[in-house]
Amino acid sequence: MTENYTALYEEHKKLGASFTDFGGWQMPLKYSSELSEHHAVRKSAGLFDLSHMGEVWITGAGAGAFLDYALVGKLSAIAVGKAKYSLICAEDGGIIDDLIVYRRPSETEGEDKYLVVPNAGNASTVAAALAERAAGFDVKVEDVSSEMSLIAVQGPKAEDILLRLVPAEQHSLVTELKYYAAVEVPFTVDGTTAELLLARTGYTGEDGFEIFIENDGAPALWSEIVAVAGEGELTPAGLASRDSLRLEAGMPLYGNELSRDGDPFAAGLGPVVALSKEGDFVGRAALEAKKAAGAGATTGRKLVGLKGLGRRAGRSHYPVLKDGAVVGEVTSGQPSPTLGYPIALAYVDVEHAEIGAPLEVDLRGKREPFEVTALPFYKRSK
């Protein structure tokens, strides 16, 4: 696989980042300490480069109907300016990717416009699947992933910091922006003001924003955000802290909790699948059958949160045991920096999945006690 570099690679190098491969991209793993980056996001604000994520525009008179067919949710029902979490499934109900879909105002009368944001490693697969599924719909599918950067500012100070880049008379665009909504906001960078798409979304469990910008403007925006933040107010944060933050927030990661072999019901994403919507959609027959069979409810395994009662953390692929027998498998796990005890997401046989159920995790031959706990592990106080 060829290595991809985001438009912000040089910024990361200047900040002393250590890099890791993620979905074919060289991404900052951490700049100094992943724990301090994690705490910074919880207490103040963190700055993330998410430019490895994909961006696919869907436009046309049939855009809503097309997305209702191509994805499992009812995307035609999203109000203009709002966003929705969804999945793209295969015919057999396996999960190809999880996505955020933003509905945008259309410039053309009679057309609708959506922005689909897939994960880095799946972006080209998703774009290809969407293009294939578009046959017969009055819709244009345009993969602009390679042209777009995505910068996230996450944490309780995120709004304060971003407002410093926005003219005062436009502040209400930001302050009144709801969670899972997006708006074009004028940002002033190097004395030049340009409209950028700002979304109140994130993957950290904190309030925060994601800003879409074309690659050539990304380094200046990144530097400007760093420049307007006060001392200690904003910390560049890498993928290591992004992973620990999303795990505390109980959010699934494609490749760990979600996969082609899994299904939405076992993953706890049943509510995302709009079986009640009209018309066929890719995967409907298989998903209806899984739901009818009780997948993730009365049969098979379901995704649960595990809280470690000892000090040791479970890790991806470690077996989950009940009375010495394997009843599940950890998909993500580590010591929770915020909570101070080990947390994990695991697929567990449904009969052992109720809250409080005592289980063990096999930590490389040593058994440690865990118990099933409600998700999310961490919820911010509002």
Partner: protein, 127 residues
């Protein structure tokens, strides 16, 4: 780039060995290892009085991201463990060659050890 302390010897598994007095050695893990591991949150050390064998595992180091075995770089009896790093594993990241030492051994024999120059050359580290 990770620093390699010039006065120490190193194993291939990134433990360092300091000659304290006589056959008494202090053992820790190098800054090359701590950088790769990330923030260390748990350390499992051999017990005082137990015998460790060069090249064999004698404990574990767990970071936010992963778990790694600790290998004994020498053979001998453990005479002391650093309880400070058990209580506060961040010491290992902050001062791997000082306050972050792990345990001491009365060494009967050494496993294969590298000089600081050899270790640095092998790991792209700087003296």
């Amino acid at each position: 780039m990770a620093k390699v302390a010039p006065e120490l010897q190193y194993s291939d598994e990134h433990e360092w060995v300091a000659r304290d007095a006589g056959n008494l050695v202090s053992i820790g893990i190098s800054a090359v290892a701590t950088d790769a591991l990330g923030d260390i949150v748990y350390v499992d050390l051999p017990e005082v009085g137990s015998t460790v064998t060069a090249g064999e595992t004698c404990g574990e180091v767990e970071s936010t991201k992963s778990v790694s075995d600790l290998y004994a770089p020498v053979t001998g009896v453990v005479t002391e463990v650093n309880s400070a790093v058990v209580d506060d594993p961040a010491l290992i990241n902050n001062d791997p060659y000082g306050a972050g030492w792990l345990f001491k051994v009365a060494a009967d024999s050494d496993g294969p050890l590298l000089s600081a120059e050899e270790y640095a050359a092998k790991n792209g580290g700087e003296l």
